[in-house]
Structure formats: C-alpha cells, structure tokens
Assembly symmetry: C2
Homo-oligomer: 407 residues x 2
C-alpha cells in the first residue's frame, strides 16, 4: 500500500503559473557580481550595466555615396571646380567657396559642404570642372553626425545577452571592454540507479545517461560554469553529503528521481534541510517538477525522460536561470504555422510536440514518447497544442524554433 501513498493529488499546475513562480523565485536571488571582459571574451554573457554611447555615430558627417560634396546654395547651373579629393579616413580642410570636393563613401564632409551629388548624375568637363544638372536636395547623400546614435544615448540595456551583433555595436562605439554578470555556477546531478555513462559497457537493466550531456552542453551555451556532479547516490546520508559539497553553486539541477518507484532521498534531504515543492505540470512531456533548496542553495529537479528534460529545461529552467542574471527577454520567438497533422483528442495537458516545417506546415516526429530524444534531434522546433483543444490539418499552432531555445 505504501507504494501508492506517495502519489500526489492530481492537481495540474498550468505552465504560466509554474513559470511565474519560478521567475518570482529567480528575482529573489539575483546574481549580481560582475566582471570586466574584453569584447572577444564576452560572447554569450549578460551585460551588467547599460551601454551608453560616449560619442556620436557617425562621429562626423560623411558621404553615403561616391560623388561630389558641395554647398547646395552655391549650385546655380554653373559648373564647379574640384578643390580637393577626400577619401575615407582623411580629415579634410574646409571647402573652398564656389568649389566642390571629390568625395568617396564614408569620407568626412568638409566644413562648408552640406550635400553630396552621386557621381552617376554629374558631367565631368574637359577643364576638370563638374556640371550638376539635376536639382540637389539640401543634405542629400549625407550621413549626418549622430544620425545613428547620439552621445549619451543608452544603446544596450543592462540584462542584454551579448552576441556578435551587440559586441560589434559596442566596438563601433569604441568600447573595448564590457562589464558582464559572472557566470552562474550550476551543478548537474542525475538520479537513477539504472544510469551508466557512455563509453562504458551496458549491464543488464542499465541505460546510458543522456540528460547529463544534454544539460551540460546546453548550460554552457547559456554562459554557465557547469559542475558535473555525477549520479546522486541511492542513500540519504550520501545524498546529504553530496548536496553539502555543492554549497558554492547558484543552482543544483537534477534529473530523474521523481518517479514514485524511486526512493526519493533528494526530496527527503530537501524537506529536512531546506524546502521542497513538487509540481505536477499541465504539460506533456514533462509532468513532474521539483523546486526547492538545500541549505539555501536553489534546487530544480527535472523529470528524467529525455524529451521531458528538454521541454522542462527549455520552458522553465532556462528562463529561471536567465532571469537570475537579469535578462529581460525571456520569451522565445514563436510563430503561428498551419498544422500538418490532425489532433482529435483534446488533452488535459498542453503538448509540446517535436516537429519540423515541411512546405510551411508543422509535421510531427512519429514517436512522441517522452523517452525518445531522437525526436528532438530530428525536429526543428516544438509545436504547442493547448490543453482541451482539437486541431484539423491546416489549423494554426504555435511553433517555437529549437534555435531560439538552445542558445
């Protein structure tokens, strides 16, 4: 009988509620320590302070075209002589009155010039003068100083995740180093006596541990310092000791061990020396989720089936971690696409199906079992089928690209 008692009441927690709670929890334990890194080392990190422009961009008015710089008011049908040639990188003297300057893309406009005519529209005379036959609009083909960015403007907010574009933008402002949040330290633990590491021979009843590799690589992409903490021992004292060793990390992430059949030493340790909540999520795959802390260290326990691990990490643990770093953009882009399948049986839980786009329609991997990671390797994204709904082919479903989630 005792086997059945540990089953929890069957109240399902909506994904939104679970996420709200996790984010509120994240806000209560922000990671704020910073370090200063060169741009080359800052890819994937989170900006600790806003990036404020200390110069105008462009820093001076320049030509958007290969052509001729001139003072628009001086163009009255008479050809102008060319008084100077200005290449990018040069610092030109002032424009001589009644003349124009040969100018190339990106080169600074000389003082006294206010417009550029492109070379295709002018006539070069034999005496070297230039005839402007088309009407010239004041300021045409000129990139004004500060047109992109003005000194003092906030260009990137604190909490921005830095990628090649943001780093390039910082470089364009002359910034060589950025203050970023330190890497969060995350310990990855597996539970399950049946797990064995790849490379070792498989004994009877054993399976290879795939979640550890999935999570360790994923966490590294999120900028985490990952501590591979191995397999949680099947013993309360050893579990306590193992958790105690992890007092310096920001998060303990475990997988598996939430099935009724497994002796729940992790849960017991958390109950005794911390806090434990067991949620039954209204999503599929990924029903059981553990949240809590051990001696003050946050613990998230993901379900152990690989597709469940993937979905719960993507939708819950990932935003939780990013939130602790101060990241504000947490919702992955998603797109309505026509379903290339029918869904006739409304579910109690929201389904996250592994899918690809074929001719603009979301098609499903044949085996959507939570035990099957191959579905996710085949897939380009997750298709969301909301609880209590049925779908006909062609109905719109939400598609979240895996590339949005995996970085």
């Amino acid at each position: 009988m005792s086997d059945h008692l540990s089953a929890q009441p069957d109240t399902l927690l909506p994904l939104e509620t679970a996420l709200e709670r996790l984010l509120a929890w994240a806000v209560s334990s922000p990671i704020r320590e910073c370090e200063t890194l060169s741009l080359a080392d800052a890819d994937g990190r989170v900006l600790a302070e806003p990036l404020i422009a200390e110069l105008d961009l462009p820093p001076w008015a320049n030509s958007a075209m290969d052509g001729y710089a001139l003072c628009q008011a001086e163009v009255r049908g008479e050809p102008l002589r060319v008084s100077q040639r200005i290449f990018a990188g040069q610092a030109p003297g002032p424009l001589q009155p009644g003349s124009c300057a040969r100018i190339f893309t990106g080169a600074p406009l000389p003082a006294g010039a206010d417009s550029v005519e492109m070379q295709e529209n002018v006539e070069l005379l034999a005496d070297g003068r230039v005839r402007f036959s088309q009407p010239i609009r004041l300021g045409q083909h000129v990139r004004a100083q500060g047109q992109e960015t003005r000194r003092g403007e906030t260009v990137l907010l604190a909490g921005t995740r830095l990628g090649p574009v943001e780093l390039g933008l910082a470089a364009s402002l002359g910034v060589a180093q950025l203050s970023v949040i330190r890497r969060p330290r995350v310990a990855v633990l597996s539970t399950g006596d049946e797990l064995i590491e790849p490379g070792l021979p498989l004994g009877p009843g054993q399976i290879y541990n795939s979640n550890r590799r999935l999570l360790c690589s994923w966490l590294q992409r999120l900028g985490c310092a990952v501590l591979d903490a191995g397999i949680l021992p099947d013993d309360l004292a050893l579990t306590r000791a193992k958790l105690g060793e992890l007092s310096e990390v920001d998060l303990i992430l475990s997988t598996g061990g939430v099935s009724v059949g497994e002796a729940d030493f992790l849960g017991q340790a958390l109950r005794e020396e911390g806090q434990l909540e067991l949620w039954k999520l209204a999503i599929k795959p990924g029903k059981p989720l553990t949240c809590g802390q051990f001696r003050g260290v946050p613990v998230i326990g993901l379900p152990g089936n690989p597709a469940s691990t993937l979905v719960t990490f993507a939708l819950l643990a990932r935003p939780y971690l990013l939130k602790r770093l101060g990241v504000s953009e947490l919702t992955p882009l998603h797109f309505p696409v026509p379903a290339g399948f029918a869904w006739s049986k409304p579910g109690k839980r929201r389904e996250y199906l592994r899918a690809r786009l074929e001719q603009g329609r979301a098609v499903l991997y044949s085996n959507q079992s939570s035990a099957v990671l191959r579905s996710a390797a085949w897939a380009q994204g997750l298709v969301e089928v909301r609880e209590g709904t049925t779908l006909a082919e062609g109905d719109l479903v939400n598609f979240i690209s895996l590339s949005e989630l995996l970085g």
Copy 2:
C-alpha cells in the same frame, strides 16, 4: 575621369544565383579532415561520419508506468500474487507463472511478462494480491526493446551540426566520442584607412572597426578557428605580403574596400595571383561582393557597412562555410508574418530589413541605413521584402529569426 571608369556595369545578381555559385564553389573545396572528440568538446562541430546505433533503444523492454507487469493471457478475473518488485536499474528474474511483478517506470520487464497495468487501475487486496478489474490490452504501457531506435539504424547523418540534443542522443547510444570535421581556419581582414580599433582614441576622420568583432565572434559560434589578420595595408606590395602570410587558412574573409573610392589593392592582388569576381547583388543592404582566390586560398570580400556585412555574411558567407564542412541544412527557418508596415515603393533589390515582432506583426527599426548596426541589435530577425513588390500593412512577409542565423 578614371575615378568613374572603375564603376561596374549595373547588372544585379539575384541572391539565389549568388548563393548557388558560392555553394558550387564550396563543394569544389570541401574540408574533410577529421578529429575525434569527446562529447563534451563536440558542441557546435560537424559530424564527419554517420552515427549508427550499436544497440537497441531502449535496450530492453521496460515499463512506461508505475504499476504491475504481467502476462496478459493469465489475467482472467482472479487476483494475482506479487512475486517480485522491480526498480529501474535492476535485472529481474523471469516472472513466475500465475503472478505479477510490482514494477516502476523505466524498470526492465521480466521474461514472461508482456503488459503493464498502471497502479491507479488496480485493487490491492488485504492478502497482498492484486485485482485487475479493467481489460488489459496486450503490450500496454510497455516500451518495447528497440522502439526508439534499432541497432544498425543511422541516427544522425554525416554533416549534422552537433548541439546539446545531438550530443545527448549520442550519449543515449553509449557513444562517448565522435568524429567531427576539423575547425575551418578563417582569417578576418578589414580594409579601410579610416578604421581604428575600439579602446584607442578616435582621430579626425576615423571610425571604430565593428565588423571585425561581429565576424570574429560569429565565426567562433560557427566552430571556426579565427585568425584576426588585422587591417589590410593600403599598398599593393604589403597587400601581397599580407595575403601571402595567410596561405594556411581555408578562407580569407575581408570587409570593406570594394567602394570605388578606395584603392583596390586587394582586387589587384587577386587578379594578378589568383582570381577575382565582383558581384553586384540584388539585395539591400549588401550590394557589392567580392569572390576569388589568392594563390589558391579562397577569398570572400563583404561590403564594409555593418548592416551589409551582417546580411551578406548571414545569407551567403555562412552557408558557403557550412557547405564546405558538409552541412546539408543550410536554409534558415523562416516564417510568414504580417507586415506591421507598408512598403509603397517597389525596389530593384530584395530588402532585408531589421525587424521585431510586436503583437505578431513585423515592425521595422526606424533607421534601416546599411551603416547602422544598432538596428540589428534591436532586431529579432530579418524581414524579406522581395524586389518589385509593394506591401500593405498586414501582407505576409518572410521573417528570419536572427537566432537561426547567428549560430
């Protein structure tokens, strides 16, 4: 006059044609050398050989539920005694005839059992026997051996880019190391006398080099070994010498220096000791593109305006590089979304506009100048407006998420 002569004929090359040519060029110089890496080191790399399953997944039939394993033919209304308890990780003995086995999720089915009834559907009797009152379907709640994957099946194709999911999948098959294509060596060169490195004081007429940071970080994300080759000197002999130093790389990627106004020593060096093609692409931003080789080393010259660099790298240089590694999935996912803007003037070139999704509509950054990298940092993706078309608000446009392109 000579200034104008170097202008090229105004034939625009469609993006598809340019990409086709680049991919054909890539196929002619594949990078095939491999190295064997542990899974922990293989994230972002390209699989050199197909991954073939050397075991069934699951390796043995197991229970998908917490419940009772039994032989379906033996259930005839009479309660069954429980002859053993099987946890995940155990190797059970055969099922005694006329009995059932207590079994937990993931645990191996004992020989002689063919079905599982979940615990919620049984009645435990006072004498310890179990009554099965619901009809039992043969094989129910059993994950059959090889249900996910059969030994000998190809699980990942050569040319697959490895990420957390693929690495987890390899781990699930017991594979600890993978053969991957070696990192491509890419030299990044900038041209432009006006460029100065971030961190240094800005002199008159100078601007900070942002493309180098953009490209170096991006190339690293693509698994490249990046050689930062600095600024290309404004002198033919020095250009030759610099290019000559790069004989060991797989690709020289340069930015800038294709404007008519700049002395084109790169082009001259390529013409004399290699090959040079200058394309005018029918895209905006990103018109001018240089392709060629110097003493056999492929060279791609991207335009120097940051948004042009970004778009041409994303749409042309990125797939070219991945193709040389044997990657087959080169087309980024794209989604039709309603335009949150109108486009009244049909263009000659296809536009790639920096955009965000707001309430499901693509909205544009206010300044779409090719000189403006800030637009891309603000953006979530590129919106494609095809040449020769106009758009009303709500018309569908192609949206390519930047996360698809940047990894």
